[in-house]
């Protein structure tokens, strides 16, 4: 179970609070969606949860199966089962995609006291998963995200997620920049990973992704906190009417 409790966080360089008391609770196997206007703090929440530098936590907790992620290094959070599909995946020239993936998978296994995968085992699994996401072998050989199209980067994020088999997946606008077919692929990739244990938090601006990945709960975020939660119908309301009415409700 993933829980964000009254999370308040500010920028480290400026005296500016972005997250202003965010609370959220996602049960095992559930899919939640977060929608909210640009700049409301959705990506900031995902960065703070995964441990990016540059933010100061003023208050609150982020718990994964009871352990406070905020006390851990980013790699420890990953090994604990957290995964963030980045809104803007980072290009890393000189680091091969395959090397990166294998290092990541084995680092996590090592940290959890599991046996590392050898090259052959790894290759077999990665090939299979890449194929289902229509990621060709050539892309795996290239440096991490370098020269990938927007959609390829997003698919690569999902491939990483599939390889790492996390407990809690945060997808930050994984649908943006995807064509209709790629969106389906990504959604299928996500759905294939759904099970009774694994939870998802899907950040999106559009209903379309939620047509494919059916959320149990939809949250609306504004100005650093959740202002409303509801069923899938809430996403439709946003799609049709925008945020104005919802923002007025709380104001």
């Amino acid at each position: 179970m993933f829980e964000i409790k009254n999370l308040k966080a500010s920028l480290a360089d400026e005296d500016k609070q972005i997250l202003k008391g965010m609370t959220l609770r996602i049960g095992a196997g559930e899919v939640h969606a977060i929608m909210g206007p640009n700049g409301s703090g959705k990506s900031t929440m995902s960065y703070v949860a995964s441990g990016k530098n540059g933010y100061v936590v003023d208050e609150g907790e982020v718990l994964l199966d009871g352990a406070n992620l905020l006390d851990m290094e980013p790699d420890e959070r990953a090994a604990a089962g957290l995964f963030l599909a980045f809104q803007y995946p980072v290009e890393i020239p000189g680091v091969g995609n395959m090397t990166f993936l294998r290092t990541a998978v084995n680092s996590q296994r090592k940290m959890r006291g599991e046996e590392e995968l050898n090259a052959a085992q790894f290759l077999k699994i990665v090939r299979e998963k890449a194929k289902s996401l229509k990621i060709d072998a050539d892309m795996l050989k290239r440096p991490v995200n370098v020269g990938f199209s927007g959609g390829e980067k997003k698919r690569n994020e999902i491939l990483q997620m599939a390889m790492l088999e996390p407990k809690m997946c945060i997808l930050d606008e994984t649908d943006s920049g995807l064509d209709v077919d790629a969106m389906k692929l990504v959604a299928e990739g996500v759905n294939a990973l759904r099970n009774g244990e694994r939870s998802f938090l899907v950040i999106t601006h559009y209903q379309r992704l939620l047509d494919h990945i059916k959320p149990d709960v939809v949250h609306i975020m504004a100005d650093g906190k959740i202002i409303k939660s509801g069923g899938p119908e809430l996403a439709l309301e946003v799609e049709n009417n925008g945020y104005a009415d919802l923002l007025n409700e709380v104001a």
């Binding site: 290094e73 980045f86 890393i92 680091v95 990166f100 991490v144 990483q160 790492l164």
Partner: protein, 428 residues
Amino acid sequence: MGEAKFDNPTEALLARHSAPRKGSDWAEASRHAARERTLGMGAAGRRDEYWRYTNPTTLNAFEAPDVEILQLEEVPVFDGVEKLLITFVDGVYAPDQSDDLSGEGLEISMLEDALSADIHWAADVFGVFETNGQSPVNRPFAALNTALAGQGVVIRATGKVSKPVALRYCREKTTSDAVIHHVIRVESGADLSILENGAGASRLNTVMEVDVADGGSFHHLRAQGRDHARLATTAIFARLGAESHFKSFTLTVNGVLTRNEVVLDIIGDDTKASVAGACLGDGDFSHDDTIFITHDAVNCESRQVFKKVLKNGATGVFQGKILVKPDAQKTDGYQISQGLLLDDDSNFLAKPELEIYADDVACSHGSTCGAVDENSLFYLMSRGVPRAQAQNMMIIAFLDEAIQEIESEELAEDIRSRLLGWTERHKG
């Protein structure tokens, strides 16, 4: 012995090495001229334009330093490749640790033997290329080398040489001053690879003069020894004929002071040259690449790719020049030098220079210096890679552009594994 008994420091330089075996007239004339040259230009000093960033004091000192011999448990560099091995111990040829001096498409002799022949092709190269390389920038250690070197190999490649010639520089004494001078000619259409490996001495001075004829190919790959307190000055002087290929790559890990100079004269059209280096230094480490490439022919390409990883107060220096003569049209010159600083105490100093007299040329140069990219580091860590390992991946990635300059994939892989080794030993 101290320096006091000499009139000036340059005489002390010339006096600190024992005299080589006497050669034939042309060789002695060349040595004598080099001695005069050395005296004329004087010892390197901080006031010299190209010694501002690197302090030559220990290189000039009368006594070579006392340097603990590094005992390595790992497989030596280039061990896995088939090669013709020539070993020098403390700067002296060790025939019992070397292969027979013969190979397909190859004539090899020791420098002393070549220099004692009355007639030898090396007479056109020995000290001649070095002399040409003394202007416009003085290179006193190279002149000193010509004046005093008795050791080295003289190689003539006449065809495709089946295996690389590997020069291995071992150490047995903690204090030694080695002066080694190689003379190489790659004949038209021939293809030669030279590998160099090891610290060689507590203070090593090498010169390699290379004449690449039209259509010849020369590949040079070097791993300078890891002994921490060792000193090294090296210089390569090469003349490149038409449609020739020249590649030189140097890996430097550790070593308290290294000055590597490369002087290339491209005199024939349609030639391609690359000079590259990767260095990794932790702590008391000063590494200097000083490169001078002259384009004096049409449609030639030259590349300089230098990457330096520095931590705990290490210093990296790059001084690289591209000179394009008035008639060297269609020159394509590329130069990049980058420092990756793993902390605030380390320094990277670069002096890139372009001097272009032709109008139809494409030359680009860039120099950057910075820390490991935080966003990339976070991305790697967010996937479960621990910080130190993520940083090491970034270091290897940073160096990769230089490694890619190595022609042979097998040798490049060997070098990559050494980089990994260093990052593991110097983690965090």
